[in-house]
């Protein structure tokens, strides 16, 4: 029997929710109590699956923990799975993203604050800095959003091993076509309302980017005001915000197998980081952003919480499950692609990231 695993990273530890039927859930945790968990990768490409978890202590710094028995035991690389080479003079502040590659089962990508991309060829045990991006001439001008100066999105291209897209706040979208040796800003059409020139080459505050599963050259971006789609692999972007209650938010999730379907979790505005009209809600599109449906059945109102950029995920069940966690420590699940939600966890610390996978 398969099991659905939802891994929940919070400000003060990791919890693992499991279910056989997406109805009755068991909760295991806390792991790493009092340590922040801003990133989780669930690597299901091999048996047993491997959990990779970015863990950060306010006192003792960041590390990556890994488990090959679904959280029963944890291990870490003594010298650190990620550490900057001495010549950079930099130190890892936080691991923001852990992404298994789509071409090579040994390769895992990670990204950090400060803005850096890392490639592991041993499933996350050790990593090397992607110098082409670290040495980019734009790097001194990349800024720090409120969450920190980090790369938060890593999207390998399933059709071309040498191509990849990353995104950062602030800085925007960058792409490589040569395996990471060179990178170009790729923000044409994305507005930067916080800059004197609102249409710069780079510097946009892109909050999250997701890739369409059926058309890999199609991408969706939730921006710091603005929701966009690209149909040319990030070359140009056009607004798909019409019909949404607001164009602000942090996260975007694409359907794992059906093209054109995506979910956003809207936030009223930069200056009002609460759900629109006090109704916690998900916005779903089934036509690549041409139209939107409000999904709020089972979600609370009034609600004045917020959902962060990595705190939402989809599983690969049929129908797809959608999960998200809030800054007031609740996790909601939908087993019907957003038609209805149920609260599966409450009273956790602020939820920073959520990842879901089908195991077994």
């Amino acid at each position: 029997m398969t099991q659905t695993l939802v891994a929940i990273g919070t400000r003060k530890g990791l919890w693992l929710a499991r279910t056989n039927d997406r109805n009755i859930w068991s909760l295991d945790g806390p792991h790493f109590l009092m340590r922040e968990v801003p990133s989780i990768g669930i690597d299901t490409r091999r048996e047993p699956p491997r959990l990779l978890v970015g863990v950060r202590s306010e006192h003792w710094g960041p590390t990556i923990m890994r488990s090959d028995d679904l959280g029963q035991s944890w291990d870490e690389t003594p010298e650190g799975a990620i550490h900057f080479p001495e010549d950079t003079g930099a130190a890892v502040e936080r691991v923001w993203q852990i992404t298994p590659d789509v071409h090579d089962d040994d390769v895992v990508w990670a990204s950090t604050e400060p803005q850096a991309l890392w490639r592991s060829e041993d499933r996350g045990e050790t990593s090397s800095l992607v110098r082409g991006l670290w040495d980019h001439p734009h790097r001194p001008e990349w800024g720090a959003g409120f969450g920190g100066a980090a790369i938060h999105t890593i999207l390998p291209d399933p059709t071309a091993p040498a191509e990849m897209l990353v995104a950062m706040s602030t800085g925007g979208v960058y792409r490589t076509g040569d395996g990471g040796d060179s990178w170009s800003a790729s923000n044409t059409g994305i507005k930067a309302p916080h800059q004197p020139d609102p249409w710069p080459e780079f510097g946009q505050c892109v909050h999250k980017v997701a890739r369409d599963s059926a058309k890999p050259a199609r991408l969706y971006a939730q921006n710091h005001h603005g929701v966009y789609r690209s149909d040319d692999n990030g070359g140009t972007w056009t607004s798909i915000a019409d019909g949404l209650p607001t164009d602000f938010g942090f996260t975007v999730v694409a359907h794992p197998s059906r093209g054109g379907t995506l979910w956003l979790i809207p936030v009223t505005a930069d200056s009002e980081r609460v759900p629109p009209d006090g109704q916690l809600q998900v916005q779903r599109s089934s036509d690549a952003g041409a139209s939107w449906v409000t999904c709020s059945a089972g979600l609370p109102a009034p609600s004045y919480t917020c959902v962060l950029r990595d705190a939402a995920a989809a599983d690969t069940n049929e129908p797809t499950g959608i999960y998200f966690g809030t800054r007031n420590g609740e996790v909601y699940a939908s087993g019907d692609e957003g038609e209805s939600f149920a609260r599966i966890v409450e009273q956790l610390p602020d939820v920073l990231c959520v990842r879901a996978a089908v195991i077994g």
Partner: protein, 93 residues
């Protein structure tokens, strides 16, 4: 040279609360002492200092009761009989 570890780091030292670090001569730089103390225990070393070698912001090191940040940091010259305490600062919420 004696290093007293905080309780939260002792599991990384097989439960030991104190480490004895031999040094050459009567004194050594604190940086050198830390290098010697944790070369065989890199997980503890990485908890205390980042990869640039700096003390982590919320880790405090006291030599004979004095906060080393007021005494030259890791460049402090420490006598062979000193007691070094490593403690987490008061932080968080």
């Amino acid at each position: 040279m004696q290093i007293i570890l905080p309780a939260v780091l002792r599991e990384l030292a097989d439960g030991a609360g104190e480490l004895v670090v031999p040094i050459d001569g009567e004194a050594a730089l604190l940086r050198t002492i830390m290098d010697a103390a944790f070369v065989a225990r890199p997980l503890i070393g990485a908890r205390i200092r980042d990869e640039t070698g700096d003390l982590r912001r919320h880790v405090n090191v006291f030599v004979d009761g004095q906060d080393v940040r007021r005494l030259g940091g890791l460049d402090l010259v420490v006598g062979s009989g000193a007691v070094i305490h490593i403690l987490p600062s008061i932080a968080g919420g």
